[in-house]
Protein backbone atom coordinates (compact mmCIF):
# COMPACT_ATOMS: atom_id res chain seq x y z
CA UNK A 1 0.00 0.00 0.00
CA UNK A 2 1.35 3.39 -1.01
CA UNK A 3 -0.17 6.76 -0.21
CA UNK A 4 0.01 8.90 -3.34
CA UNK A 5 -1.98 11.90 -2.11
CA UNK A 6 -2.56 13.10 1.43
CA UNK A 7 -5.25 15.36 2.81
CA UNK A 8 -3.38 18.63 2.14
CA UNK A 9 -2.55 17.63 -1.42
CA UNK A 10 -6.19 16.74 -2.11
CA UNK A 11 -7.30 20.11 -0.82
CA UNK A 12 -4.70 21.93 -2.90
CA UNK A 13 -5.69 19.98 -6.01
CA UNK A 14 -9.38 20.89 -5.61
CA UNK A 15 -8.47 24.56 -5.18
CA UNK A 16 -6.28 24.42 -8.25
CA UNK A 17 -8.96 22.62 -10.29
CA UNK A 18 -11.51 25.27 -9.33
CA UNK A 19 -9.10 28.00 -10.47
CA UNK A 20 -8.52 26.32 -13.83
CA UNK A 21 -12.25 25.78 -14.38
CA UNK A 22 -13.00 29.44 -13.70
CA UNK A 23 -10.16 30.61 -15.96
CA UNK A 24 -11.56 28.51 -18.84
CA UNK A 25 -15.20 29.51 -18.48
CA UNK A 26 -16.59 32.78 -19.82
CA UNK A 27 -18.17 34.90 -17.09
CA UNK A 28 -21.68 34.94 -18.51
CA UNK A 29 -22.05 31.14 -18.40
CA UNK A 30 -23.42 29.30 -15.39
CA UNK A 31 -21.28 26.58 -13.86
CA UNK A 32 -22.83 23.66 -11.97
CA UNK A 33 -21.03 20.73 -10.34
CA UNK A 34 -22.45 17.22 -10.58
CA UNK A 35 -20.75 14.31 -8.84
CA UNK A 36 -21.02 10.62 -9.69
CA UNK A 37 -22.04 8.52 -6.70
CA UNK A 38 -20.54 7.92 -4.30
CA UNK A 39 -17.02 9.48 -3.96
CA UNK A 40 -17.66 11.87 -6.84
CA UNK A 41 -20.62 13.22 -4.90
CA UNK A 42 -18.41 14.30 -2.02
CA UNK A 43 -15.72 15.72 -4.30
CA UNK A 44 -18.35 17.67 -6.25
CA UNK A 45 -19.61 19.23 -3.03
CA UNK A 46 -16.08 20.31 -2.09
CA UNK A 47 -15.36 21.55 -5.60
CA UNK A 48 -18.58 23.54 -5.74
CA UNK A 49 -17.58 25.06 -2.39
CA UNK A 50 -14.24 26.13 -3.89
CA UNK A 51 -15.91 27.43 -7.04
CA UNK A 52 -18.48 29.40 -5.04
CA UNK A 53 -15.75 30.93 -2.94
CA UNK A 54 -13.54 31.93 -5.87
CA UNK A 55 -16.44 33.17 -8.02
CA UNK A 56 -18.21 34.92 -5.20
CA UNK A 57 -21.55 33.36 -6.12
CA UNK A 58 -23.28 30.08 -5.33
CA UNK A 59 -22.38 27.20 -7.65
CA UNK A 60 -25.14 24.56 -7.42
CA UNK A 61 -24.15 21.00 -6.78
CA UNK A 62 -25.96 17.74 -7.62
CA UNK A 63 -25.50 14.01 -7.42
CA UNK A 64 -25.86 11.54 -10.26
CA UNK A 65 -26.57 7.83 -9.88
CA UNK A 66 -25.41 6.02 -13.03
CA UNK A 67 -26.47 2.46 -12.15
CA UNK A 68 -29.30 2.32 -14.71
CA UNK A 69 -26.90 3.43 -17.45
CA UNK A 70 -24.07 0.99 -16.77
CA UNK A 71 -23.00 -1.20 -19.66
CA UNK A 72 -22.47 -4.34 -17.55
CA UNK A 73 -26.00 -4.75 -16.18
CA UNK A 74 -26.72 -7.78 -18.32
CA UNK A 75 -23.43 -9.56 -17.87
CA UNK A 76 -22.71 -11.56 -14.73
CA UNK A 77 -20.94 -9.38 -12.21
CA UNK A 78 -18.65 -10.46 -9.44
CA UNK A 79 -19.62 -10.07 -5.85
CA UNK A 80 -20.56 -6.42 -5.94
CA UNK A 81 -24.12 -5.98 -7.12
CA UNK A 82 -24.86 -2.49 -8.33
CA UNK A 83 -27.47 -0.82 -6.15
CA UNK A 84 -29.83 1.71 -7.67
CA UNK A 85 -29.84 4.94 -5.70
CA UNK A 86 -31.34 8.34 -6.24
CA UNK A 87 -30.17 11.05 -8.58
CA UNK A 88 -30.43 14.36 -6.77
CA UNK A 89 -30.13 17.31 -9.07
CA UNK A 90 -32.36 20.07 -7.79
CA UNK A 91 -31.80 22.50 -10.66
CA UNK A 92 -32.31 22.74 -14.39
CA UNK A 93 -29.23 21.65 -16.36
CA UNK A 94 -30.29 23.20 -19.69
CA UNK A 95 -27.63 25.56 -21.08
CA UNK A 96 -25.36 25.09 -18.06
CA UNK A 97 -21.66 24.26 -18.04
CA UNK A 98 -21.65 20.99 -16.15
CA UNK A 99 -18.51 20.04 -14.30
CA UNK A 100 -18.88 16.28 -14.01
CA UNK A 101 -16.86 15.13 -11.02
CA UNK A 102 -15.51 11.65 -10.28
CA UNK A 103 -12.77 10.34 -8.03
CA UNK A 104 -10.81 8.17 -10.47
CA UNK A 105 -10.95 8.13 -14.28
CA UNK A 106 -9.85 4.67 -15.41
CA UNK A 107 -11.69 2.77 -18.17
CA UNK A 108 -13.97 5.67 -19.02
CA UNK A 109 -17.08 3.51 -18.75
CA UNK A 110 -18.59 5.38 -15.80
CA UNK A 111 -18.11 8.64 -17.63
CA UNK A 112 -19.88 7.26 -20.68
CA UNK A 113 -22.79 6.14 -18.49
CA UNK A 114 -22.86 9.51 -16.72
CA UNK A 115 -23.04 11.41 -20.00
CA UNK A 116 -26.00 9.32 -21.14
CA UNK A 117 -27.72 9.86 -17.80
CA UNK A 118 -27.18 13.63 -18.01
CA UNK A 119 -28.56 13.87 -21.54
CA UNK A 120 -31.80 12.30 -20.30
CA UNK A 121 -32.13 15.17 -17.84
CA UNK A 122 -31.77 18.02 -20.31
CA UNK A 123 -29.44 19.72 -22.77
CA UNK A 124 -26.45 21.31 -21.09
CA UNK A 125 -24.26 23.84 -22.89
CA UNK A 126 -21.21 21.68 -22.22
CA UNK A 127 -20.05 18.80 -20.03
CA UNK A 128 -16.51 19.03 -18.66
CA UNK A 129 -14.89 16.18 -16.80
CA UNK A 130 -12.97 16.85 -13.60
CA UNK A 131 -11.28 13.98 -11.74
CA UNK A 132 -9.00 13.71 -8.75
CA UNK A 133 -6.92 10.88 -10.22
CA UNK A 134 -6.43 10.27 -13.94
CA UNK A 135 -5.32 6.67 -14.26
CA UNK A 136 -3.91 4.95 -17.38
CA UNK A 137 -6.12 2.23 -18.90
CA UNK A 138 -8.84 3.86 -20.96
CA UNK A 139 -11.22 1.55 -22.84
CA UNK A 140 -13.35 4.34 -24.29
CA UNK A 141 -12.32 7.51 -26.16
CA UNK A 142 -12.84 9.72 -23.12
CA UNK A 143 -10.35 12.12 -21.51
CA UNK A 144 -10.48 14.38 -18.50
CA UNK A 145 -10.65 18.15 -18.97
CA UNK A 146 -9.32 18.72 -15.47
CA UNK A 147 -7.21 16.09 -13.75
CA UNK A 148 -5.65 16.53 -10.35
CA UNK A 149 -3.08 13.76 -10.37
CA UNK A 150 -1.91 11.44 -13.14
CA UNK A 151 -1.22 7.84 -12.17
CA UNK A 152 0.32 5.09 -14.28
CA UNK A 153 -0.70 2.27 -11.93
CA UNK A 154 -0.70 -1.13 -13.66
CA UNK A 155 -4.02 -2.85 -14.42
CA UNK A 156 -3.91 -5.24 -11.45
CA UNK A 157 -3.53 -2.46 -8.90
CA UNK A 158 -6.31 -0.79 -6.97
CA UNK A 159 -6.36 3.00 -6.79
CA UNK A 160 -8.54 3.89 -3.84
CA UNK A 161 -9.73 7.38 -2.94
CA UNK A 162 -10.70 7.71 0.73
CA UNK A 163 -12.56 10.77 1.93
CA UNK A 164 -13.39 11.98 5.43
CA UNK A 165 -17.15 11.91 4.83
CA UNK A 166 -17.25 8.28 3.70
CA UNK A 167 -14.05 6.67 4.98
CA UNK A 168 -12.96 8.82 7.92
CA UNK A 169 -9.75 10.04 6.30
CA UNK A 170 -8.66 12.00 3.22
CA UNK A 171 -6.08 10.10 1.17
CA UNK A 172 -5.45 8.36 -2.13
CA UNK A 173 -3.72 4.99 -1.96
CA UNK A 174 -2.46 2.36 -4.38
CA UNK A 175 -2.73 -1.30 -3.41
Amino acid sequence: MKVILNSEQIERILKDLAGRIIADTPNELDIVAIGIRSRGEILAQRLSGQLSQQLGKKVPCGTLDITLYRDDLNSPQGTAQPKVRTTEIGFDIDDKIIILVDDVLYTGRSTRAAMDALIDLGRPKAIKLAVLVDRVGREFPIQADYAGYKSDAEPGKLVQVNLVESDGKDEVIIE
Binding site: T67, L68, Y69, P76, Q81, V84, T86, G122
Partner: protein
Protein backbone atom coordinates in the same frame (compact mmCIF):
# COMPACT_ATOMS: atom_id res chain seq x y z
CA UNK B 1 -60.70 -29.08 -12.01
CA UNK B 2 -56.94 -28.89 -12.20
CA UNK B 3 -56.98 -25.30 -11.11
CA UNK B 4 -59.15 -25.94 -8.10
CA UNK B 5 -56.77 -28.64 -6.96
CA UNK B 6 -53.82 -26.35 -7.34
CA UNK B 7 -55.47 -23.68 -5.25
CA UNK B 8 -56.14 -26.01 -2.38
CA UNK B 9 -52.67 -27.44 -2.38
CA UNK B 10 -51.16 -24.01 -2.03
CA UNK B 11 -53.62 -23.25 0.74
CA UNK B 12 -52.56 -26.38 2.54
CA UNK B 13 -48.94 -25.36 2.13
CA UNK B 14 -49.74 -22.05 3.80
CA UNK B 15 -51.15 -23.76 6.89
CA UNK B 16 -48.22 -26.04 7.32
CA UNK B 17 -45.66 -23.33 7.69
CA UNK B 18 -47.61 -21.08 9.94
CA UNK B 19 -46.68 -23.15 12.98
CA UNK B 20 -43.00 -22.26 12.86
CA UNK B 21 -43.70 -18.63 12.65
CA UNK B 22 -40.76 -16.70 13.98
CA UNK B 23 -39.52 -14.77 10.99
CA UNK B 24 -39.43 -11.38 12.66
CA UNK B 25 -36.93 -12.26 15.30
CA UNK B 26 -34.73 -14.42 13.11
CA UNK B 27 -34.76 -11.89 10.27
CA UNK B 28 -33.79 -9.12 12.60
CA UNK B 29 -30.85 -11.11 13.87
CA UNK B 30 -29.78 -11.80 10.33
CA UNK B 31 -29.94 -8.14 9.40
CA UNK B 32 -28.01 -7.12 12.49
CA UNK B 33 -25.33 -9.71 11.78
CA UNK B 34 -25.01 -8.46 8.22
CA UNK B 35 -24.73 -4.86 9.34
CA UNK B 36 -22.03 -5.77 11.83
CA UNK B 37 -20.04 -7.68 9.25
CA UNK B 38 -20.47 -4.83 6.80
CA UNK B 39 -21.30 -7.42 4.16
CA UNK B 40 -23.21 -6.05 1.23
CA UNK B 41 -26.62 -7.52 0.61
CA UNK B 42 -27.18 -9.23 -2.71
CA UNK B 43 -30.55 -9.67 -4.40
CA UNK B 44 -30.71 -13.18 -5.84
CA UNK B 45 -34.37 -13.87 -6.73
CA UNK B 46 -35.21 -14.04 -10.39
CA UNK B 47 -38.90 -14.49 -9.58
CA UNK B 48 -41.17 -12.45 -7.36
CA UNK B 49 -43.92 -14.84 -6.35
CA UNK B 50 -45.03 -13.53 -2.98
CA UNK B 51 -43.99 -11.52 0.03
CA UNK B 52 -44.42 -14.39 2.46
CA UNK B 53 -41.09 -15.89 1.41
CA UNK B 54 -39.15 -12.62 1.49
CA UNK B 55 -37.09 -11.49 4.46
CA UNK B 56 -37.59 -8.01 5.85
CA UNK B 57 -34.17 -7.18 4.46
CA UNK B 58 -35.23 -8.16 0.95
CA UNK B 59 -38.40 -6.10 1.23
CA UNK B 60 -36.44 -3.07 2.37
CA UNK B 61 -33.97 -3.59 -0.48
CA UNK B 62 -36.83 -3.43 -3.01
CA UNK B 63 -38.26 -0.32 -1.36
CA UNK B 64 -34.86 1.41 -1.34
CA UNK B 65 -34.30 0.48 -4.97
CA UNK B 66 -37.74 1.84 -5.88
CA UNK B 67 -36.70 5.24 -4.50
CA UNK B 68 -34.10 5.51 -7.26
CA UNK B 69 -36.77 4.89 -9.89
CA UNK B 70 -39.22 7.49 -8.67
CA UNK B 71 -37.50 10.42 -10.35
CA UNK B 72 -37.55 8.81 -13.80
CA UNK B 73 -41.27 9.61 -13.98
CA UNK B 74 -40.78 13.29 -13.21
CA UNK B 75 -37.97 14.31 -15.53
CA UNK B 76 -38.03 15.37 -19.17
CA UNK B 77 -36.98 12.03 -20.69
CA UNK B 78 -39.11 9.49 -18.82
CA UNK B 79 -37.01 6.52 -19.83
CA UNK B 80 -33.84 4.78 -18.72
CA UNK B 81 -32.03 1.95 -20.51
CA UNK B 82 -31.51 -0.96 -18.05
CA UNK B 83 -33.95 -3.39 -19.74
CA UNK B 84 -33.11 -2.39 -23.31
CA UNK B 85 -33.54 -5.38 -25.59
CA UNK B 86 -35.55 -7.36 -23.02
CA UNK B 87 -39.09 -8.55 -23.64
CA UNK B 88 -41.75 -8.45 -20.94
CA UNK B 89 -45.04 -10.31 -21.38
CA UNK B 90 -48.08 -9.02 -19.55
CA UNK B 91 -50.04 -12.27 -19.15
CA UNK B 92 -53.37 -11.35 -17.57
CA UNK B 93 -56.02 -14.01 -17.13
CA UNK B 94 -58.16 -11.62 -15.05
CA UNK B 95 -59.29 -8.07 -15.74
CA UNK B 96 -57.15 -5.25 -14.45
CA UNK B 97 -56.60 -1.54 -15.07
CA UNK B 98 -54.05 -0.37 -12.57
CA UNK B 99 -51.73 -3.32 -12.27
CA UNK B 100 -51.64 -4.10 -15.95
CA UNK B 101 -51.00 -0.56 -17.12
CA UNK B 102 -48.60 0.07 -14.29
CA UNK B 103 -46.48 -2.95 -15.27
CA UNK B 104 -46.65 -1.98 -18.95
CA UNK B 105 -45.56 1.57 -18.23
CA UNK B 106 -42.85 0.39 -15.83
CA UNK B 107 -41.46 -1.93 -18.52
CA UNK B 108 -41.63 0.85 -21.10
CA UNK B 109 -39.81 3.31 -18.86
CA UNK B 110 -37.00 0.80 -18.46
CA UNK B 111 -36.81 0.48 -22.27
CA UNK B 112 -38.11 -3.09 -22.44
CA UNK B 113 -40.42 -4.26 -25.20
CA UNK B 114 -43.79 -5.39 -23.97
CA UNK B 115 -46.24 -7.97 -25.28
CA UNK B 116 -49.81 -7.67 -24.08
CA UNK B 117 -51.49 -11.01 -23.67
CA UNK B 118 -55.18 -11.42 -22.91
CA UNK B 119 -56.98 -14.66 -22.38
CA UNK B 120 -59.91 -13.80 -24.60
CA UNK B 121 -57.86 -12.90 -27.63
CA UNK B 122 -55.48 -15.87 -27.35
CA UNK B 123 -55.35 -19.59 -27.94
CA UNK B 124 -56.23 -20.14 -24.29
CA UNK B 125 -59.82 -19.78 -25.43
CA UNK B 126 -59.08 -22.74 -27.74
CA UNK B 127 -58.01 -24.84 -24.79
CA UNK B 128 -54.26 -24.29 -24.57
CA UNK B 129 -52.94 -24.77 -21.05
CA UNK B 130 -51.15 -22.12 -19.05
CA UNK B 131 -47.80 -23.91 -19.27
CA UNK B 132 -48.04 -24.51 -23.01
CA UNK B 133 -48.94 -20.89 -23.60
CA UNK B 134 -46.01 -19.71 -21.51
CA UNK B 135 -43.55 -22.12 -23.11
CA UNK B 136 -44.61 -21.01 -26.55
CA UNK B 137 -44.13 -17.41 -25.63
CA UNK B 138 -40.77 -18.31 -24.13
CA UNK B 139 -39.74 -19.99 -27.37
CA UNK B 140 -40.08 -16.56 -28.97
CA UNK B 141 -37.41 -15.27 -26.61
CA UNK B 142 -39.15 -13.48 -23.80
CA UNK B 143 -37.32 -12.52 -20.63
CA UNK B 144 -39.92 -11.63 -17.99
CA UNK B 145 -43.48 -12.88 -17.53
CA UNK B 146 -45.87 -10.81 -15.45
CA UNK B 147 -48.80 -13.06 -14.63
CA UNK B 148 -52.22 -12.59 -13.07
CA UNK B 149 -54.39 -15.66 -12.72
CA UNK B 150 -57.48 -16.68 -10.80
CA UNK B 151 -55.79 -19.83 -9.50
CA UNK B 152 -53.59 -19.51 -6.44
CA UNK B 153 -50.07 -20.76 -7.14
CA UNK B 154 -50.22 -20.09 -10.89
CA UNK B 155 -47.12 -17.88 -10.77
CA UNK B 156 -45.23 -20.48 -8.77
CA UNK B 157 -46.17 -23.23 -11.19
CA UNK B 158 -44.94 -21.10 -14.07
CA UNK B 159 -41.67 -20.24 -12.34
CA UNK B 160 -40.81 -23.90 -11.97
CA UNK B 161 -41.30 -24.59 -15.63
CA UNK B 162 -39.83 -21.75 -17.60
CA UNK B 163 -36.46 -20.01 -17.72
CA UNK B 164 -37.81 -16.50 -17.88
CA UNK B 165 -38.31 -14.42 -14.75
CA UNK B 166 -41.81 -14.61 -13.31
CA UNK B 167 -43.48 -11.75 -11.49
CA UNK B 168 -46.75 -12.46 -9.74
CA UNK B 169 -49.35 -9.78 -10.44
CA UNK B 170 -52.01 -11.53 -8.36
CA UNK B 171 -52.84 -15.21 -8.03
CA UNK B 172 -56.24 -16.28 -6.73
CA UNK B 173 -56.66 -15.41 -3.07
CA UNK B 174 -52.96 -15.97 -2.39
CA UNK B 175 -50.74 -12.99 -3.03
CA UNK B 176 -50.42 -9.74 -4.91
CA UNK B 177 -46.83 -8.90 -3.99
CA UNK B 178 -46.36 -5.64 -5.89
CA UNK B 179 -49.52 -4.24 -4.28
CA UNK B 180 -48.19 -5.17 -0.86
CA UNK B 181 -44.88 -3.51 -1.71
CA UNK B 182 -46.40 -0.31 -3.00
CA UNK B 183 -48.61 -0.10 0.09
CA UNK B 184 -45.68 -0.33 2.48
CA UNK B 185 -43.66 1.98 0.21
CA UNK B 186 -46.42 4.59 0.46
CA UNK B 187 -46.68 4.27 4.24
CA UNK B 188 -42.90 4.36 4.69
CA UNK B 189 -42.56 7.41 2.48
CA UNK B 190 -45.03 9.39 4.57
CA UNK B 191 -44.52 7.97 8.06
CA UNK B 192 -40.80 7.21 7.73
CA UNK B 193 -41.10 3.70 9.12
CA UNK B 194 -43.68 0.98 9.75
CA UNK B 195 -42.16 0.06 13.07
CA UNK B 196 -44.84 0.29 15.76
CA UNK B 197 -47.66 1.47 13.49
CA UNK B 198 -51.16 0.06 13.92
CA UNK B 199 -52.72 -0.78 10.58
CA UNK B 200 -56.31 -1.89 9.97
CA UNK B 201 -57.16 -3.83 6.84
CA UNK B 202 -60.93 -3.65 6.46
CA UNK B 203 -63.45 -5.59 4.42
CA UNK B 204 -63.47 -8.76 2.44
CA UNK B 205 -60.40 -10.38 3.98
CA UNK B 206 -61.36 -13.90 2.91
CA UNK B 207 -61.20 -13.17 -0.81
CA UNK B 208 -58.34 -10.72 -0.68
CA UNK B 209 -54.85 -11.45 -1.91
CA UNK B 210 -54.05 -7.82 -1.16
CA UNK B 211 -54.82 -8.39 2.52
CA UNK B 212 -52.38 -11.30 2.60
CA UNK B 213 -49.52 -9.60 0.79
CA UNK B 214 -50.06 -6.44 2.85
CA UNK B 215 -50.09 -8.44 6.03
CA UNK B 216 -46.80 -10.18 5.23
CA UNK B 217 -45.04 -6.99 4.24
CA UNK B 218 -46.41 -4.88 7.08
CA UNK B 219 -45.73 -7.36 9.88
CA UNK B 220 -42.25 -8.11 8.57
CA UNK B 221 -41.48 -4.39 8.71
CA UNK B 222 -42.67 -4.20 12.30
CA UNK B 223 -46.26 -2.96 12.07
CA UNK B 224 -49.20 -4.37 13.96
CA UNK B 225 -51.99 -5.49 11.62
CA UNK B 226 -55.67 -5.76 12.50
CA UNK B 227 -58.06 -7.54 10.13
CA UNK B 228 -61.53 -5.99 10.33
CA UNK B 229 -64.65 -7.33 8.68
CA UNK B 230 -67.87 -9.27 9.20
CA UNK B 231 -67.38 -12.87 10.38
CA UNK B 232 -68.68 -14.13 7.04
CA UNK B 233 -65.79 -12.44 5.24
CA UNK B 234 -63.16 -13.33 7.83
CA UNK B 235 -61.19 -16.45 6.94
CA UNK B 236 -60.74 -19.13 9.58
CA UNK B 237 -56.98 -19.12 9.04
CA UNK B 238 -56.73 -15.52 10.25
CA UNK B 239 -56.25 -16.80 13.78
CA UNK B 240 -53.09 -18.60 12.68
CA UNK B 241 -51.47 -15.44 11.35
CA UNK B 242 -49.60 -12.73 13.27
CA UNK B 243 -52.61 -10.41 13.14
CA UNK B 244 -55.47 -9.57 15.44
CA UNK B 245 -59.06 -9.83 14.27
CA UNK B 246 -61.92 -7.44 14.97
CA UNK B 247 -65.52 -7.59 13.83
CA UNK B 248 -66.22 -3.95 14.53
CA UNK B 249 -64.75 -1.01 12.64
CA UNK B 250 -65.97 1.35 15.36
CA UNK B 251 -63.77 -0.40 17.89
CA UNK B 252 -60.55 0.07 15.93
CA UNK B 253 -61.05 3.35 14.06
CA UNK B 254 -59.72 5.50 16.90
CA UNK B 255 -56.47 3.66 17.44
CA UNK B 256 -55.06 2.99 13.98
CA UNK B 257 -52.42 5.01 12.08
CA UNK B 258 -53.27 3.57 8.68
CA UNK B 259 -56.52 2.13 7.37
CA UNK B 260 -56.64 0.10 4.17
CA UNK B 261 -60.17 -0.31 2.82
CA UNK B 262 -60.53 -3.38 0.62
CA UNK B 263 -62.93 -3.55 -2.25
CA UNK B 264 -65.96 -5.79 -1.92
CA UNK B 265 -65.21 -8.23 -4.71
CA UNK B 266 -68.67 -9.03 -5.99
CA UNK B 267 -67.21 -11.26 -8.70
CA UNK B 268 -65.70 -13.56 -6.07
CA UNK B 269 -68.44 -13.55 -3.44
CA UNK B 270 -70.40 -16.75 -3.06
CA UNK B 271 -73.56 -17.09 -0.95
CA UNK B 272 -74.78 -14.10 1.02
CA UNK B 273 -71.94 -12.87 3.19
CA UNK B 274 -73.95 -9.80 4.28
CA UNK B 275 -77.69 -9.04 4.21
CA UNK B 276 -77.45 -5.97 2.03
CA UNK B 277 -74.95 -3.57 0.58
CA UNK B 278 -76.49 -0.86 2.74
CA UNK B 279 -76.00 -2.82 5.91
CA UNK B 280 -72.37 -3.59 5.03
CA UNK B 281 -71.76 0.06 4.36
CA UNK B 282 -73.39 1.00 7.66
CA UNK B 283 -71.10 -1.21 9.72
CA UNK B 284 -67.88 -1.35 7.69
CA UNK B 285 -67.91 1.65 5.37
CA UNK B 286 -65.38 4.43 5.97
CA UNK B 287 -67.67 7.41 6.35
CA UNK B 288 -66.99 11.05 7.20
CA UNK B 289 -68.71 10.38 10.52
CA UNK B 290 -66.20 7.65 11.37
CA UNK B 291 -63.28 9.73 10.12
CA UNK B 292 -64.09 12.34 12.77
CA UNK B 293 -63.12 9.82 15.42
CA UNK B 294 -59.91 8.74 13.68
CA UNK B 295 -56.43 10.13 14.38
CA UNK B 296 -55.99 13.41 12.49
CA UNK B 297 -52.99 12.09 10.54
CA UNK B 298 -54.50 8.70 9.65
CA UNK B 299 -53.60 7.47 6.16
CA UNK B 300 -56.58 6.23 4.15
CA UNK B 301 -55.63 3.64 1.55
CA UNK B 302 -57.52 1.59 -1.01
CA UNK B 303 -56.05 -0.81 -3.57
CA UNK B 304 -58.70 0.18 -6.15
CA UNK B 305 -60.98 0.00 -7.94
CA UNK B 306 -63.21 1.84 -5.46
CA UNK B 307 -66.87 1.08 -4.95
CA UNK B 308 -67.73 4.67 -4.03
CA UNK B 309 -70.29 4.87 -1.27
CA UNK B 310 -69.93 1.20 -0.35
CA UNK B 311 -66.66 0.49 1.45
CA UNK B 312 -65.63 4.14 1.39
CA UNK B 313 -67.53 7.43 1.05
CA UNK B 314 -66.50 9.64 -1.85
CA UNK B 315 -65.65 12.53 0.47
CA UNK B 316 -63.21 10.30 2.34
CA UNK B 317 -61.70 8.74 -0.78
CA UNK B 318 -61.00 12.23 -2.13
CA UNK B 319 -60.27 13.76 1.27
CA UNK B 320 -57.03 15.08 2.69
CA UNK B 321 -56.10 11.87 4.48
CA UNK B 322 -56.44 9.82 1.32
CA UNK B 323 -53.26 8.53 -0.30
CA UNK B 324 -55.09 6.39 -2.85
CA UNK B 325 -53.58 8.14 -5.87
CA UNK B 326 -50.12 8.24 -4.26
CA UNK B 327 -50.39 4.46 -4.08
CA UNK B 328 -50.86 4.34 -7.84
CA UNK B 329 -47.92 6.69 -8.47
CA UNK B 330 -45.65 4.76 -6.13
CA UNK B 331 -46.77 1.49 -7.71
CA UNK B 332 -44.99 2.49 -10.88
CA UNK B 333 -41.66 3.03 -9.12
CA UNK B 334 -42.04 -0.22 -7.16
CA UNK B 335 -42.80 -2.21 -10.32
CA UNK B 336 -39.83 -0.70 -12.11
CA UNK B 337 -37.65 -1.78 -9.20
CA UNK B 338 -39.08 -5.31 -9.25
CA UNK B 339 -38.60 -5.74 -13.01
CA UNK B 340 -35.07 -4.38 -12.70
CA UNK B 341 -34.13 -6.62 -9.79
CA UNK B 342 -35.46 -9.92 -11.18
CA UNK B 343 -33.67 -9.23 -14.44
CA UNK B 344 -30.47 -8.47 -12.53
CA UNK B 345 -30.72 -11.75 -10.65
CA UNK B 346 -31.20 -13.62 -13.89
CA UNK B 347 -28.25 -11.90 -15.53
CA UNK B 348 -26.09 -12.83 -12.57
CA UNK B 349 -27.08 -16.43 -12.59
CA UNK B 350 -24.87 -16.63 -15.61
CA UNK B 351 -25.11 -16.94 -19.30
CA UNK B 352 -24.86 -20.71 -19.32
CA UNK B 353 -28.34 -21.08 -17.83
CA UNK B 354 -29.68 -19.04 -20.69
CA UNK B 355 -28.33 -21.41 -23.32
CA UNK B 356 -28.95 -24.60 -21.38
CA UNK B 357 -31.08 -26.99 -23.38
CA UNK B 358 -33.97 -27.56 -21.09
CA UNK B 359 -35.77 -30.85 -20.74
CA UNK B 360 -39.13 -30.11 -19.27
CA UNK B 361 -39.78 -31.85 -15.98
CA UNK B 362 -43.01 -33.89 -15.81
Amino acid sequence: MFETKLFWSIEFWSFRFVSNFDFRISDLHEVMALIKKGKSFKWHRKHLLGLRELSSEEIIYILDTAKGFEQISTRSVKKAPPLRGKVVVNMFFEDSTRTRNSFALAANRLSADIIEFTEKASSVSKGETLLDTARNLEAMGIDIVVIRHSAGGAAKLLSRNINACVVNAGDGFCEHPTQGLLDVYTIRKIKGTLEGLKIAIVGDIAHSRVARSDMWAMTKLGAEVIFVGPPTLMPSWASKLPVSVSYSLDEVIEKVDVINMLRIQFERLGGNPFPSVREYSHYFGLTLERMKRAKPDILVMHPGPINRGLEIESEVADGRNSVILDQVTNGLAVRMAVLFLVNQARAQQGKEAKHEKRIYPD
